[in-house]
């Protein structure tokens, strides 16, 4: 046991020592080389943007591995459930950066290594967690890891937008937020934002008019205005006014954006929100849509500096509630016969998914897939879904199991 710990500590030390000077393409070989000293082979897989395939990082001197589908494979199960899956001598552990799902690691264990199973799972998930943080920092150093995560090239609009957005999933002790944005390689004007600080998290979903890079630029202006004002202590009203002013200044041709800005008070459960011409968010309680948030209405962002509307919408949530934010690309997705996906179908699917017991990020991936499957051909518009669940259980489900115990003790 002590020897095992020393060996795994050595593995971690070697990876960290090498992490100072490495290039993005060095990651896989260095981790595999360090693990070989324990007789273990390691392959790192990163999920692609559409979350359909886990794509392997090449290791020098080894034959290339095939991508692993998220649906219907052992590696995919580890990704879906955020937990280690043992398949004979090949074990799969989820790679998360905090709670953002980045991929999986395949560990090829020496025969009989699974003796102390609990201890081994813990070590596998521990190293995978470390890799999650390292992948995130390495992504800033070059293009290699980003390219592995792509099944095709990205448009300039998508390049701009993804740089602006926070991770798809983030959790703190008593709630979790997850988002999905499609079409991943060609998004333009949809965007989201959130902050998890303190007892008053905030959420934004927006849809800038127009397409591609032009729309992306407008979305960037909105996010910049909102963030600047928020970080200077401005409330939601002030944030929306800032977005109005910045859009009007930058786009005289009426490049407006619809948006919902919301703030949840975790001590009282009161959600305050503004709706700038956007589809109304939904509240899901015990598996049923119980409320459509149609208050707080004001003009879209960037229409007028005078009298855009100043009334907040307000609703009191209960612990366990889910909030569903979406853009019209979701409800207006059309099938071959021209039938729209619609708010009712969205509500029904959200209800069905909530019964699945999946991590919120996975429930959302399935929802987005249902919309895309409904769609005849490539999406005519960007679609964004953002879910918030106010519950400690939902937060824990986004954390690998062997890290959950420490979380609960706190």
């Amino acid at each position: 046991m002590a020897l095992e710990d020393a060996l795994w500590n050595g593995l971690v030390r070697e990876i960290l020592d090498r992490s100072h000077l490495w290039r993005p393409e060095d990651l896989a070989g260095i981790v595999d080389g360090a693990a070989r000293r324990l007789g273990i082979g390691v392959t790192i897989y990163l999920v692609d943007h559409e979350q359909q395939f886990l794509r392997p990082l090449g290791v020098p001197g080894r034959p290339a591995q095939e991508p692993v589908p998220v649906d219907g494979a052992d590696g995919g199960r580890a990704y879906i459930a955020v937990e280690t899956v043992a398949a004979g001598d090949r074990w799969w552990s989820p790679i998360v950066n905090g709670t953002d799902r980045l991929g999986v690691i395949a560990y090829d264990l020496p025969p009989g290594a699974g003796g102390d199973e609990d201890g081994l799972v813990r070590r596998c998930e521990f190293v995978a967690g470390l890799i999650g943080h390292l992948v995130t920092t390495l992504n800033e150093r070059g293009d290699h890891l980003r390219l592995v995560q792509r099944s095709r090239p990205m448009t300039p609009g998508a390049e701009l937008l993804w740089q602006l957005l926070p991770p798809l999933t983030a959790s703190v002790r008593d709630f979790t937020v997850a988002a999905v944005l499609e079409p991943s390689y060609d998004v333009g004007g949809d965007a989201y934002d959130y902050i998890l600080d303190g007892r008053r998290p905030q959420f934004v979903v927006l849809d800038a008019a127009g397409r591609r890079l032009r729309a992306g630029l407008a979305a960037a202006v909105v996010l910049a205005g909102i963030r600047s004002t928020r970080r200077a202590g401005g409330d939601l009203l002030a944030q929306a006014r800032a977005a109005d002013a910045e859009l009007l200044a930058q786009f005289p041709d009426a490049r407006f954006a619809t948006a919902v800005l919301a703030e949840l008070d975790l001590d009282t459960g009161v959600l305050r929100y503004l709706n700038a011409g956007h589809p109304p968010p939904l509240v899901l309680r015990e598996g049923k849509i119980v409320e459509t948030l149609d208050g707080g209405r004001r003009l879209p962002l960037g229409i007028a500096e005078a009298d855009p509307g100043t009334a907040y919408g307000e609703v009191r949530l209960r612990p366990g509630d889910r909030l569903v934010f979406y853009t019209d690309g979701v409800t207006e997705a059309r099938d071959g016969a021209g039938e729209q996906f619609g708010a009712e179908r969205l509500a029904r699917l959200v209800e069905e998914q909530s019964a699945g017991g999946f991590p919120l990020s996975e429930a959302l991936r399935r929802l987005a897939r249902a919309v895309l499957d409904h769609q005849d051909g490539p999406p005519a518009d960007d679609l964004t879904l953002l879910l918030v669940e106010w519950s400690a259980g939902a937060a824990l489900r986004t954390v690998p199991p062997t890290s959950r115990e420490d979380e609960q003790v706190e």
Binding site: A209, T258, G277, L299, P300, I303, A304, R334, G338
Partner: protein, 115 residues
Amino acid sequence: MTSEILSVSTREAADGVRVLALAGDVDHDSVPRVRDAVEAAWEDGRTRIVLDLTLVTFCDSAGLGLFVEAHRRAGAHGGWFRLAAPGGPVQYVLDATNLAHYLAVHPTVDDALTA
């Protein structure tokens, strides 16, 4: 998605008001045609414009953007830009985006001309 081809027909009403009647989908691809017609009205010195939406089957954010732009521009020059007779789908997006009260929307072309 198959979109209805947009047509724009132009006529003069009394008092030098330009009426632009649209038929089909107003979207990202077709909106330049509407913009051209609005520009032509401006070039002819027509700062009071009615957009007849009776036969418009769909309107996306590009169309709304043009309405806002034309509304602002007319207002700044002492004219006006009025929307007339939006059908269900167009009224829906005007309501959903809260723009129905910002833009000048009238139930019929006659109402728009005499408002």
